[in-house]
């Protein structure tokens, strides 16, 4: 028993030495400290996040419309009539839940990104589900967003089994401190959740290149499905990625958050959503502790720099 424990677990002192941020410390010493609760709606509600981003000059996928009430659901076809493709997502969703990507539609038949064809009733039902709070945090009534589809860049083409990965950047006091990208696998069912078997690739914060890749907490070097070499990932337009993440700090006032950024082939990096309680798995993907970096920021990083200067400082 004891030997088994020793084999799977480590002493807390070891984790502390490594500067690993635990869940309790994240909640108490970081989130409760730097994320004022009144700011949460800004990031929990994607409509608000979008309008903030617009003001701050941060690119996000264009909004087609918002459906807030059940009686508006039937307007959906009228709303998207100028768009050949669109995305439906819950305003208060998280982690990609409830997102429906429609690649094309004709005569009441909708083709989804996965290739599945569904009819109008199912789309209608999906929007109704969103409104009734099926995908929202805490299950409260929600509204549905209609967005333009992102045309993903080819940069990640070989690395993803299904869907296109986004880049998650952790921002502390305005400084991007850690980044990763999550690659869906067959095992994870096309979802980007690490605990379901998706691959986490830690990205070097200065270069956007692979630091290390893990699946099920174990280091790997190639994608289990596409066999692409994971060590060779290099995110294009890295500085722009970081800049979007950094700008979100001024935008929201949150001291600690995660920014999810996608790369559009034509428009460049776009902010997809912000998360005021980003998960801790990024540490495993990076093989590094967040607390160590947080301490460094507290101690050495200059305060009250504009976003551009902060990125310069990071990339110096």
């Amino acid at each position: 028993m004891f030997n088994w424990l020793r084999a799977v677990c480590v002493l807390p002192a070891k984790l502390r030495e490594k500067g690993i941020l635990g869940m309790n410390a994240r909640n108490y010493s970081v989130i409760a400290q730097y994320n004022s609760r009144r700011l949460y709606p800004l990031v929990d509600d994607k409509v608000q996040t979008k309008s903030l981003a617009l003001k701050a000059g941060v690119q996000t996928p264009n909004l087609i419309g918002v459906i807030a009430h059940q009686y508006e659901v039937e307007n959906i076809l009228a709303m998207v009539k100028n768009h050949r493709e669109f995305v439906i997502k819950p305003a208060h969703g998280s982690g990609g839940k409830g997102v429906m990507v429609v690649r094309g539609y004709e005569g009441g038949k909708f083709t989804l990104a996965s290739g599945k064809v569904i009819d109008y009733n199912e789309v209608y039902q999906h929007v109704s589900n969103i409104l009734s709070g099926l995908y929202s945090l805490g299950g409260q009534y929600d509204s549905a967003l209609l967005e333009e589809m992102v045309h993903f860049s080819d940069a990640f083409k070989d690395y993803s089994y299904c869907g296109v990965p986004d880049v998650r950047v952790i921002v502390y006091k305005g400084y991007p401190i850690m980044a990763m990208t999550r690659l869906a696998t067959a095992e994870s069912g096309g979802r980007a959740n690490l605990h379901q078997g998706a691959v986490g690739v830690g990205l070097d914060i200065k270069t956007g290149r692979t630091k290390c890749a893990v699946q099920h907490n174990m280091p790997i070097t190639q994608h289990p499905d596409t066999k692409a070499d994971l060590r060779k990932i290099e995110v294009p337009l890295w500085r722009e990625h970081l800049l979007i993440a950094a700008k979100a700090y001024e935008m929201t006032g949150l001291g600690y958050f995660g920014a999810d950024i996608v790369l559009d082939a034509q428009k460049g990096p776009m902010m997809l959503e912000l998360n005021a309680r980003p998960g801790l798995a990024i540490q495993i993907a990076n093989g590094e502790g967040l607390k160590k970096v947080i301490k460094k920021v507290d101690k050495y990083y200059p305060k009250s720099l504009p976003p551009e200067k902060r990125i310069d400082y990071i990339l110096r």
């Binding site: 984790l15 502390r16 490594k18 690993i20 869940m23 410390a25 495993i284």
Partner: protein, 513 residues
Amino acid sequence: MKMRKFCSVRNVLGVLLGLALLYAGFSAYYKVKYWGFSVSPKQSAKVWAIEAHVSFQADGSPIEVSLGIPSKNRGFKILEENIIANGYKTRKFADRIVFNARNMIGEQDLYYKIMVFDNTGGKDKLKDDAPVAPKMPRWDENTMAQAKQILALAKDAEGKDDIEKLVKLFNQEPLSPALKSYLPVQYTPKQKLEIMQQLLSVKGIATRISRGLKLEEGQKILPDLMLEAYVDRAWRLYDPDTGVRGLPDNFLLFQRGGKSLLDVVGGEDSNVKFSLQKSITSTMNLASRRAKLLRKSGLYNFSIYNLPLAQQNSLKWLSVFPIAILFVVLLRNVVGVRTMGTFTPMLIAMSFVQTGIGAGLVCFSMIVALGLLIRFVMSKLNLLLVPRISAVVIFVILIITGMTFLGYNLNIKIAQASVYFPIIITAWVIERASITWEEDGAANALRELFNSLIVGIIVYFVIANDYVRHIMFVFNELNLVILFAVMLLGTYTGYRLTELKRFAPLVEKPENK
């Protein structure tokens, strides 16, 4: 800066926790000492019903009957006192009761009944007047020599003082030859005591005989005796069978100081018989009377223990939850178990208390399994959230109804237990499990269910424990301690136990290199 550091939330909570601990400690001490609350739930106080039955033949002349009675503050507390003496005037004194009557003829029966409990306190020293120095017995030389020989023997016997040594010698098995030849062939316990008294008077120790009752159920024709000796300027009691000093736990002194137990003027063939009966009652039931006896009833009357029993029982049920909550907090924030909903496991545990753990587990698993099955069929219908969860609630009610009905008719006790499960909570468990199942896969859903059940079982064993329930109710200030402990845990920033495993890959182990 220093001041701010001192006033940190953690320190303030720590101080409050300390204060709560102090308060709870003091309060527990007070309750044990003055109200007689006990730490153990099974602790019950023995209440003895003692009846002294005085009978005699009256010859028509004025009657005065004087009976020694247990005086107050002799350890035992008197719960009730009852005198049955038809046609008699009674007067009570500190340690005697006197009955007076005229013109009585024939068989007379007087009853003095008391109910006593608790004989703690005041066991050793008994205040009384100092005796005059005992007279030396007038013996011939031969007897005196024998007595001295016995006293010399007693000196070598075990014991803390002369009296104990002598009593031990008298109770040795077999008796020493010297003592055997000194004692008459047959003797009553009283005679034995009188011989001891004589021997002790040779040593100049004043003694006397006290009467009382050893508390054992049954009838007694003769009271039990205790030897009293004046040692170190106080009268002290000695058990005549063991020589142990002090009032034994189960001994009720009726009469002391060499006075008679019963004096009857105007009657013949007087006799006193005792009968003793034991009844057990919980210490809680006696608390109010005890508080009153000790003049500490003001606080007691203002406490929750003076509420009607129905309310007390509800409060008893409530008082156990803070500790259950503490366990939930510990399991979630310190151990890091992921469960369905924060308090769902606790609510499951509450039902287990009603059903019993075995039946509860079987029933709950069946309800959830059936519910999940129905829920999977229902998920094809794509219903909206509120109607959907409502439908699940109704399904849960139907499942429970069905299981209870079948359980009763097929005489399966276990199935009948299902009626105790909270329907809304169970419905939410099913709903959440099914959503997790669809979104994160069966493994995650089952793991969450399993974790919730494990936490539920742990909490069940906490709240079903008699000791925990008793202590949390009787010493309910502990809930204040738990409150601050929980709040202090709200500032805990250490790693969760599960994180030691989760983040283990981040620490390179020497053996892997």
